[in-house]
């Protein structure tokens, strides 16, 4: 564990996050790759001081913690799987739109703009209730 490694993890996360907040899918994928590396560094330092490789019977020197290493091995492979999957998404996006730009969701924009419309629909029922009760009251 050292400050250098902590800063390294932080830098990888920062650069990766910056890329993830973009609209182009290929940049997002690269950002996810960087965050994956950053995560591996965090896992690595969680094992404490570095030492010799964890093999039984290789002498008496201090050994690196093997458990985080097996976590990282898993993480590396899974990051690869995710990267490949995201690339498939980008590929699909290219098939559909000839680009990998993630546009704003049109439906969501509509909901935001036409919330008033929606309100009227639900209000009918509330209005009925109120009218029924008002009639009753008079």
């Amino acid at each position: 564990m050292s400050i250098v490694l902590a800063v390294l993890a932080g830098s990888l996360f920062a650069l990766g996050s910056y890329l993830v907040m973009q609209r182009l899918l290929s940049r997002i994928i690269i950002g996810i790759g960087l965050i994956g590396h950053g995560g591996n560094v965090v896992l690595l330092v969680s094992g404490g001081a570095s030492g010799r490789p964890a093999f039984v019977g290789d002498g008496e020197a201090a050994v690196s913690d093997p458990l985080p290493q097996s976590f990282i091995l898993t993480a590396i492979v899974i990051t690869f799987g995710i990267t490949a999957f995201l690339l498939a998404l980008a590929y699909r996006s290219w098939l559909q739109t000839a680009n990998d730009l993630v546009e704003d969701d049109i439906e969501d924009r509509l909901i935001a703009r036409e919330g008033a419309l929606d309100e009227d629909v639900v209000d009918d029922e509330a209005l009925e209730l109120a009218q029924a009760a008002d009639e009753a009251a008079q």
Partner: protein, 928 residues
């Protein structure tokens, strides 16, 4: 008791099915369990009076201490008699009320049965949570019953309103129950009441319970749902909205009142709400033209009366409350039935149009007069007996608050007299008139048949009988009141208590009521002008509903902007902000670690950061991918520095593969990142990214320096050879100690491969892959040849690929003791396949793999899973490992463990996934 509940549940299921065959006789089926309730209650009258309370309990979720606990006490018995008795009569009445061909009777009958069962459960529940469950069941079934006419928007609206109001109240009740139950340490009702907890928590709990009870029993300010609920068919109103459901809140108040009346807020809250409801309900009832609504507001008023009586929390008042409970059940359901008959025959309930019902209606009119007079507490009827008790109870207290309450009760009762008179006058004013006009007026509508009338006659007869001989109900009322509080001496039901103050009050009430009835026009005008200014409960309710919708819309507009960068930015900011706040709050910080453990660490870290920055900054797609690859290779170096050769190996192999996959996909996309975001949002992105970076750095430093117990690393290392049969501890962890995790991991990999293949190869019905817009730019891919054949590459591949495959197998077999393993081996083989692809295209890859990628992946996963499961068949735990040694001719003695088979499965899966990726992105002609 349990049998009765089960019977209700059964009939509730059967009734909707049987309705098609039975028609309106389905109500006979409904009457069956309801009659069971009645019979059970009658059979236990003596036992309950003697104090031998029947109980039943079934363990429900014993781990949570949930028990279905039932106990029939006096109050429960009184309610059960009402539920059963009125229930049976309502069933008989319904058979005449509904036309034979009415649609949806099954639904109605099912919900009615469900309701009757839930109501019975509610009054006999001896466990707060059981009570809550029954409570909610009555809410739900009442929703179904009110909204039964599902084509009428008004019925649906009224049902929804009732559901929202009583449902919200139910939530309050639950919160209150939990608070009280936790304070008491038990949810058993009788134990809580015997030894009531106290404290601020209990006070809050009580107020919540009261709010729940107020919503259910239509107390102010929640009373508006009850008149709305008149959208239900009249028999249902007669049952739910007069005799049973609305009394649920009253029953809860009754049970809690005596032990908790001393809690500061109880009496002021309950008494003021009850009195206000009683008076306002009465005033409102006087303004109605619709007979059913008149009764509904009358019910609201009577429920206020009951709330006052039970909520006062002393024995004499509760005794009076029990008597009023019974009296109200009898007269109010009879009156509802009368309204139903008028509506059924005359098709109107408007008292301005009624009044011409002829002589044939006389029997009906007698029932109405008797019941209404009981409501008005006219002597010689049961309502009078009950009201006398109520007056007496408060007269005897002698405190100032009791006098105020008494005054309120007299005002409320006078109003009751007035609207009772209005009801009779409105419905039957000409029927009894002996002037010539009445005689000439032809009967406009036919009178109800005897069978239709009979249930109401039965109820009215009981009103008279108990009014004349109140002693008959004495023991019943006494035992009900005894269940609430120890009985006071000398409180008995009687017609004649002597010439005393309460009799005077009763007479004053009747006189005042008559005056109010005579002068109702000015009173109506005055109350109307007042009522228009005061906010109504219904108005507030719909305003609340509207406000909720508006808030939801605004929140949606802000939170769901539809922009991916905003979403990920918010997620990242939360991820960074929360831990950072905690870290800052948890100062002082631990000891600072060293700057760098070895110079190499610093060197490699700088390499990584430079490459990562380049990957972020460059504006060409392929360049960015290659920079990312550089980050990966540098990471592999870091793993070497940190003493993790397996990781380094895997990282090298996977980085090679990743770069190939990137290039395969990015070759289709535009060369440069054309889209440039706005400068303003750019600043925001940088800000969020900086916060993330600071958080991760700080988190890493803090998290790694707060270790409180030694790592389990040494234990794993010690057991690696003896248990796992391997010297490479990392590999032993992967394939043995944490083998199940690895199985999950390769399953995830398989899932990713399936997703990749379906995304890349999916075609629409016409066999096209995309929408066609891409096929124009597909010509762009013509820039890249189908594969990069070069004179140099071909021979290299011929040499390198077989060597790489041998190396892969070596990694697989040696991995247990040396650096390597299934992942590393599979990835090296995969990298070799990628090389083959580059040189010879997808056909060359197919020639080597032979099988389809899906087959390869499936068999690998099957091999690993089988290795994991075989020990289970042999009686060991999942993934137990075995080891042995084989003497091979050339290689000598080879130690083999079962983990090798597992690792081989991993190896095969990885190769299959690589093949699947190449198959997906490899072919350069996409649009076939």
């Amino acid at each position: 008791m349990l049998v009765i509940l089960v019977l209700h549940a059964l009939v509730a299921v059967i009734a909707p099915l049987a309705a098609a065959r039975l028609g309106r006789r389905v109500f006979l089926l409904v009457a069956l369990p309801v009659a069971g309730t009645l019979a059970y209650a009658v059979a236990n009258v003596a036992a309950v009076a003697d104090g031998n309370l029947p109980t039943a309990s079934v363990g429900w979720v014993s781990e949570l201490g949930l028990t279905l606990r039932l106990r029939l006490d006096g109050l429960g018995l009184l309610m059960a008699l009402l539920i059963g008795g009125v229930g049976v009569l309502v069933c008989l009445y319904s058979m005449r009320y509904f036309a034979a061909d009415t649609a949806g009777l099954g639904r109605l009958a099912g919900a009615l049965t469900l309701f009757a069962g839930a109501m019975f459960g509610l009054v006999v529940a001896d466990d707060l949570l059981t009570l809550f469950v029954c409570w909610e069941l009555t809410t739900v079934s009442s929703y179904l019953l009110i909204g039964w006419e599902d084509r009428s928007a008004r019925a649906r609206g009224a049902a929804l309103q009732a559901l929202l109001v009583t449902g919200a109240g139910g939530l309050c009740l639950l919160a209150g129950i939990v608070l009280i139950g936790q304070s008491a340490g038990t949810y058993e009702l009788s134990r809580i009441l015997a030894d009531p907890p106290s404290g601020a928590t209990v006070t809050v709990g009580l107020v919540l319970v009261l709010i729940g009870a107020f919503t259910k029993s239509a107390q102010l300010p929640f009373s508006f749902w009850l008149p709305g609920a008149m959208a239900a068919p009249t028999p249902i109103s007669a049952y739910l909205h007069s005799a049973t459901m609305v009394k649920a809140g009253i029953v809860v108040i009754a049970r809690f009142a005596v032990p908790f009346a001393s809690v500061g807020v109880w009496r002021p809250l309950v008494l003021s709400v009850g009195l206000a409801t009683m008076v306002l309900g009465g005033v409102r009832a006087l303004r109605q033209h619709d007979l059913k609504l008149l009764l509904a507001y009358g019910t609201v008023s009577q429920l206020g009366f009951l709330t006052v009586l039970f909520g006062a929390g002393f024995s004499a008042a509760s005794t009076a409350g029990c008597a009023v409970l019974l009296a109200h059940g009898l007269f109010k359901s009879a009156l509802f039935m009368v309204v139903g008959m008028i509506d059924h025959q005359a098709h109107t309930r408007d008292l301005r149009q009624l009044g011409g019902l002829g002589r044939a209606w006389r029997p009906t009119a007698v029932v109405a007069v008797v019941s209404a007079a009981s409501m008005a507490a006219v002597p010689l009827l049961f309502g009078f007996v009950a009201k006398e008790l109520a007056y007496e109870a408060f007269l005897d207290v002698g405190a100032v608050w009791a006098t105020i309450v008494l005054a309120g009760l007299v005002v409320g009762s006078a109003l009751t007299v007035a609207y009772s008179a209005l009801f009779v006058w409105g419905a039957f004013r000409v029927t009894f008139a002996h002037d010539s006009s009445a005689a000439e007026a032809p009967p406009l509508v036919g009178a109800p048949t005897l069978a239709f009338l009979a249930p109401a006659v039965g109820l009215a007869a009981l009103t008279v009988l108990l009014g004349l001989v109140p002693g008959l109900a004495d023991s019943l009322v006494q035992s009900a009141a005894g269940a609430i509080a120890p009985l006071a001496e000398g409180v008995h039901l009687a017609v004649w208590h002597g010439l005393n103050a309460s009799l005077v009050l009763s007479l004053v009430t009747l006189a005042a009521g008559a005056l109010v009835f005579a002068e109702r026009q000015p009173i109506e005008v005055a109350s109307r002008s007042l009522g228009e200014r005061a906010p109504t409960g219904a108005g507030t309710f719909s305003a609340l509903l509207r406000g909720l919708n508006r808030t939801a819309d605004r929140t949606t507009a802000v939170a769901q902007s539809g922009s991916l960068p905003i979403y990920s930015g918010v997620v990242l900011l939360v991820v960074a902000g929360v831990p950072l706040t905690v870290l800052l709050a948890r100062a002082p910080w631990p000891v600072w670690p060293v700057w760098a453990e070895t110079p190499w660490q610093a060197v490699v870290a700088v390499m990584i950061v430079v490459a990562a920055a380049a990957a972020t900054a460059v504006r060409r797609r392929i360049a960015a991918a290659i920079c990312l690859g550089a980050v990966g290779y540098a990471m592999a170096l870091l793993f070497v520095v940190q003493g993790a050769p397996d990781l380094a190996l895997t990282q090298f192999a996977i980085e090679t593969l990743s770069t190939v996959v990137f290039v395969l996909v990015l070759r289709f996309l535009p060369d440069r990142f054309e889209h440039r975001p706005l400068r303003r949002s750019q600043g925001l992105r940088l800000g969020v990214a900086a916060v993330i970076g600071v958080m991760v750095t700080a988190f890493t430093i803090v998290a790694t320096s707060v270790r409180t117990s030694p790592s389990i690393a040494q234990a794993l290392i010690d057991r690696s050879v003896s248990l796992g049969g391997g010297a490479n501890v990392v590999n032993v962890i992967l394939v043995d100690f944490r083998g199940l995790d690895t199985l999950g991991e390769i399953s995830l990999l398989v899932g990713a491969a399936a997703g990749i293949m379906s995304l890349a190869l999916a075609r629409d019905a016409a066999g096209r892959v995309g929408t066609g817009s891409a096929s124009g730019s597909a010509s762009g891919s013509a820039r890249h040849p189908r594969h990069w054949s070069s004179p140099l590459l071909d021979p290299t591949v011929r040499v390198v690929v077989p060597a790489a495959l041998v190396l892969a197998l070596y990694f697989l077999f040696a991995g247990h003791n040396q650096p390597g393993g299934g992942f590393a081996g599979g990835l090296v083989a995969g990298a070799a396949l990628a090389l083959v692809f580059v040189a010879g295209g997808i056909e060359a890859v197919r020639a080597i793999v032979r099988l389809r990628p899906t087959t390869v992946i499936g068999s690998g996963l099957a091999l690993s899973a089988a290795t994991a499961l075989v020990p289970l068949l042999l009686g060991h735990g999942v993934l137990s490992s075995a080891k042995g040694s084989i003497d091979l001719p050339v290689l000598g003695v080879v130690h083999v463990t079962s983990a090798l088979a597992f690792d081989a499965g991993v190896f095969v899966v990885v190769i299959g996934v690589v093949a699947a990726i190449l198959e997906s992105f490899g072919p350069s002609e996409v649009a076939s």
